[in-house]
Structures are given as C-alpha cells and as structure tokens.
C-alpha cells in the first residue's frame, strides 16, 4: 500500500514528465505552433516570422555574435547599399571604447531589442529618443544653428537618420537647395527583360528561345484540359511574345527528375526568369514568410489595416500579377488596393498622384507622369550588372525605401519633386494619410541651415 507521500511524488513525477514532453514536442517539431515560447511579441519588422524562431536564434546556445550574424544575414547588404552612417567598424575602433561602454552599437540588438513591445518605437528602436546625445551632445559647438534644439529631435524632425542619410547629408542639401516643388518628370522605363537574360543564370533560353508565340504554339500536353480563355489570355501577354510557353511555368521536376505538369507552379518557378524580382519579394513584408519556410503571408495576419474581403488571400507572385494575364497596370494599383485599407491607401484615388496615373493609363497621356502605388513603393531603380551594364528593374521589396521614409526621397520623390518639398512632405503625417492631397503644413529647416552655414563661412 502506497503512502500518501509516495502517491504525491508519483503524481508530481508523471505531471512533470508530461509537461516536459508537451513542450519538448512543441519546440522540436517543425510543424508545431511555437507561440507559447514567445517571451513577448516582436517588432513591426519581424512579427510575421516570429514563429520561425531559428531565423534569429540560429543555435540553441547562440551568443551575441550568433545573434549579430542573424541580423546581418538579412540586413547587411541593405546597410552597405546606403553607406551606413554608423557602421560597426566605427565602434570597434578602440578610441571609441568610452562610447561603446555607454552604447554598444557594435550589436544591432543594443538599439533593436526584440520581444519588448512596451519599449519598441518606430523602426523597431528600443533605446530612448535621446540616444544621439551619448556621442553628439556637443554638436552646437560645431553647428551653432543646433543650439537649444530638443534632445529628441535629431531623428524625429526629418533631419537625420542613424543609418541612412543619403538624402540628408549637408552637401546633398546644398546641391539641391532652391529647387522648385515640382520638377520636370524623370521617366524611368524598365529595361526589356530580353536585355537582361544573359545575366539570369537560370533562364531557360535553350528550351524557350526568344520568339513570338501564337495560340497554335501552345505546348500543354494533350492530357491536360486547358480553358480556351486561359490560352487567349496567355497569347496576349509578354510571356507569349517572348517565347515563354505553357510548360515553361507549368512543368516541375518530379522525384525521378522527370518533367511533369504542375497546375500551380510555385514562386520558385517565376524566379527562374525573374530572379531579382523574386529575391526582393522574399525580402519584403509580402514574401518574408515564404523565405523562412512559413505559409505565405495573409492580410489577416497584418498589423496594418486590411480589407476584410481579402483576409484569407495568400500572397504569392500571382496574387498581384494574376496568372495568365500578368497585367502590370493592375499590379501597380488595383492589386495593392484589393488588400490595403489604411488611410493612406483609402485616400489614393482622390490624390493628385492617382489623377496623373488615370490620365496616363486610361486616357493614354503620352508624357507618362502617372504615379501608381508601385511608383513609390516598388520603384524602378537602376541596377549594375557585370561589364558596366546598367538596367532599370522594379524593386519588389516595398520595405526597402519605406522606413524611415526619407529613404524614399532619392529613389522616388526626386524623380518629380524638389528636395525641400520632398523632405517637408514626408515629415507631415497628415499629408501622408491624405495621400499628399495638398501641400506640406510645416517646413523642415535643414536646407536653410546648411545654406546659412555656408554664408557665414564665406563672410
């Protein structure tokens, strides 16, 4: 006969073992929901992938350098591209040891701690707003114009960013001082993908040479019934005009490396020709879940306001581009507005930008001044390829120029607007909400200060 004490011990042992098994299964099984292990929700940038723990916690016993490596795995290229104003090397310099003691900027997580929603601000920043003071408290000695400025206005007033100051550095301000609000529009047209093909390693040029295909050229197998509408849609696309036949997208290798028909090609198939576009898509809020092996993003998971009718859509290439039509005009506005429902999106069709877009697309205006959602959020940018070749591509990571929004100035705003107007407009939250209906209500004085300093120096 067991004593009460023994019974309690046995119950305790069994309960502990069951709890351990429950959590053990959850943590080690790839398919289990790991929400229970989250110590706090993550920032705007990471919440979509917060259940892919190993994206950041690469090792069970990861130390600071492993975590840092996880940050740079995704963000190093971006920082290099924008000439990071505070690179790590600045802080590994021994002469800055006193500064590192106060703010260890060698590690991203010093300023961007995750799982701390209560202290997380814009751009996932978790240090107080006066962080700049740690190193720049004497700035007024160098720049008398900065005397008396509030300690928290360096990065919040449209003047400086910690990492990206490409559109804000003093000589750039001086170079563009005095520009008009609206400039002559700089139209950037996509480089025809035919010119890029030799730079796309995986392009199946031998199987699908560049030649125009017609309805009768379709190569879907006899055994596959294809709707006539689909064939007609395909025949009017750039795909048909470029020799991209049905099997180019619809064939996948099976386990025996035999090509078999696939009704729903994956985004990987799109990437075999549209490699840069897919890479950037997977870096974006639209595709970052796919990049981590999670299910595609759905609007219902978003923190931004989305239309309830779109909550269950899964974001892949075809969600915006529509299979078989691949209508880039639709992808530039209507695809965005089928999901996005925040104030800025709701206001778009009343905006002067949309009016220009309507005139270009619907009325066929020739001067191509139209501004779609994609013009700003998936801009056309110049990219260098080997041999001095430069091509214009559509940048499919809409986050890349969005936060902080001054990143948009050079790649987007200045194609049509002066620098001063652009800085003012992006600093005006209400104007952003109304989708730039009207003029900026406040003026950011950074250009004035730069001009004044030169005047004083020349006296």
């Amino acid at each position: 006969m067991l004593t009460n004490n023994k019974k309690i011990w046995i119950i305790w042992f069994i309960s502990t073992a069951m709890i351990a098994m429950f959590f053990g299964y959850k943590i080690f099984s790839d398919n289990e929901d790991k929400t229970v292990f989250l110590p706090g929700s993550t920032s705007h940038g990471h919440y979509q992938i917060e259940l892919a723990c190993s994206a950041c916690h690469t090792d069970s016993f990861a130390d600071e350098s492993d975590i840092q490596k996880a940050c740079t795995n995704c963000h190093a290229e971006e920082l290099k591209l924008v000439d990071d104003s505070h690179p790590k090397s600045k802080f590994t310099d021994p002469r800055n040891a006193d500064r590192v003691a106060k703010l260890d900027a060698r590690q991203c997580v010093t300023c961007h701690t995750e799982h701390k929603p209560e202290i997380t601000g814009d751009m996932g920043v978790t240090v107080p707003e006066d962080v700049c003071v740690v190193c720049h408290k004497d700035i007024a000695e160098d720049r008398p114009s900065h005397k008396g400025m509030e300690f928290n206005t360096c990065a919040s007033a449209g003047c400086h960013n910690f990492h990206d100051n490409n559109a804000l550095y003093e000589d750039f301000l001086l170079k563009h001082a005095g520009e008009k609000d609206i400039l002559d529009v700089q139209v950037k047209s996509n480089t025809d993908i035919h010119k890029r093909i030799s730079f796309i390693r995986t392009y199946p040029i031998n199987e699908y040479p560049l030649k125009k295909l017609t309805l009768s050229d379709k190569d879907s197998p006899e055994s596959i019934k294809v709707d006539q509408n689909i064939i007609e849609q395909w025949s009017s696309t750039a795909h048909a005009k470029s020799g991209v036949n049905c099997t180019a997208c619809h064939s996948e290798k099976d386990k025996n490396s035999e090509m078999t028909w696939s009704n729903k090609p994956s985004e990987k198939k799109c990437g075999s020709c549209h490699d840069i576009e897919l890479k950037k898509f997977k870096e974006s809020k639209h595709g970052m879940r796919i990049a981590q092996g999670l299910s595609p993003m759905q609007p219902e998971l978003a923190r931004l306001q989305m239309k309830s009718s779109a909550h269950r859509k899964s974001l892949t290439c075809n969600t915006c581009h529509r299979d078989h039509t691949f209508d880039v005009v639709r992808a530039a506005v209507d695809s965005c507005l089928q999901c996005h429902d925040d104030k800025h999106s709701q206001s778009f069709k009343d905006s002067p930008h949309f009016k220009l877009w309507y005139e270009e697309v619907v009325r066929g205006e020739k001067d191509k001044k139209g501004v779609s959602c994609a013009s700003c959020h998936m801009p056309r940018i110049e990219k260098s390829f080997p041999g001095g070749n430069k091509h214009i591509i559509v940048q499919h990571n809409q986050n890349e120029n969005l936060r902080p929004n001054e990143k948009m100035i050079r790649s987007v705003c200045m194609n049509c607007h002066g620098l001063e107007f652009s800085i003012d407009a992006l600093a005006d939250r209400d104007l952003i909400d109304s989708n730039f209906l009207g003029k900026p209500s406040e003026h950011i004085k950074s250009i004035d200060m730069a001009v004044e300093r030169v005047k004083q120096n020349n006296k």
Binding site: P94, A97, D142, N457
Partner: protein, 194 residues
C-alpha cells in the same frame, strides 16, 4: 610586454614580411617581433600605398591630366575616392575582418571633427610629430578594458591635391597648408598585455 598572437596573419596579409627586416626600430624577440616593429612595418605599407594612390592616381588624373574629379561624394559625383577616404575604407575593411590591430587618420585640423585627437596619447602624439619632423611618437594607453601600444606617424601633404583640397574645403579649420606640411597623423594601435 608581449605582443598578442596577431603577427603571422597581419604580416602575411599585408605582404610586409620583407619590410620587417628592413625597417629597423624595436627589438625582435624569440616569440615574434615587438609591437613597435610591427607598427612601423604596418605604417610603411600603409604610407607607401597611400602615397601611390595620392600621387599616381588622384594628383596625376585630377591635377595634371584633368580627366576626372576626386570627390568626397564619389558615388554621387561618379568621381575618384579621396586619398583620405581610401585610407579610411581600408581601415574599416581591416576592422570588419576582425584584425587584432587598428589604425586611423587623425588631425589637429580635421575636416570632420570626429577625426580630431580624443585620447591624451593622441593629443600629445599629434603635437609631437608636428613639432619634431621625421620623428614618430610611441606610447601605451588603456582604452576600455584593454591596453594598447599606440604609434603615431606624421601624415604630410605630399601632392598639390592634398593641400588644395584641405585649404579649399568649407569645413577645414585650417586653410594655409603648404606642400610638405604635417597635416595630420596615422595612429596605429596594437593590443598588448599590460
């Protein structure tokens, strides 16, 4: 004072092995070479590369041949990188690779105030090299929790491009540099056991 285990990779990496025997200064020890010898050797490579870039690339193409500009904003201006930037980018790349030594270019008259002397050794050293042409300054200093052997070498205006660029720059605190003047100093730091 013992040099930490940095020599082999540093010397091989810079291709400076042959220089080590030629530069003199410092005492060679059985387990390696002294920090001063290492710093002098590193500086010899740095100063030579810097002189080559300044004279054969920048001064020749900008001042003599007038075929291209050199600009602080070289990417935007599609221009040559300035010699000081070339030096700093090299220092940053070395730091990124995790080298166990560090170097920088400082001045009592810097265009960017972040490059003015900050530690006592830097302040004393930069004054010393300006006042004693041809001499280097060596010292030890503790920064954070590490002790460093710090060597400071004069950086002189070796080409007209150096002098005119600094004299004409809107942020330059000194505008009367002449060819051959000490314009700043190269600071090399090597961690040592205190």
């Amino acid at each position: 004072m013992k040099l930490k285990n940095v020599m082999s990779s540093v010397v091989i990496g810079l291709g400076a092995a042959s220089v080590l025997t030629a530069c003199g200064g410092g005492t060679e020890t059985k387990g390696g070479i002294s920090p001063q010898t290492m710093a002098d050797s590193l500086h010899m490579v740095m100063a030579s590369d810097r002189a080559v870039y300044t004279k054969l690339i920048v001064n020749r193409l900008v001042k003599d041949e007038k075929v291209i500009k050199a600009s602080e904003h070289w990417k935007d201006d599609k221009a040559l990188v300035l010699p000081a930037q070339m030096f700093r980018y090299g220092a940053e790349m070395v730091a990124e690779k995790g080298a166990n030594f560090n170097y920088s270019l400082l001045s009592e008259w810097p265009i960017n105030s972040q490059n003015s002397p900050k530690t006592e050794v830097e302040k004393t050293g930069l004054k010393f090299i300006a006042a004693n042409p041809g001499k280097n300054y060596y010292s030890e200093e503790k920064l954070g929790d590490k002790t460093y052997f710090t060597a400071i070498y004069a950086d002189t205006g070796i080409a007209p491009a150096c002098v005119s660029c600094h004299n004409d720059h809107k942020d330059s605190p000194r505008t009367d540099f002449k060819l051959g003047d000490v314009m700043g100093g190269v600071v090399i730091r090597i961690p040592v056991e205190s």
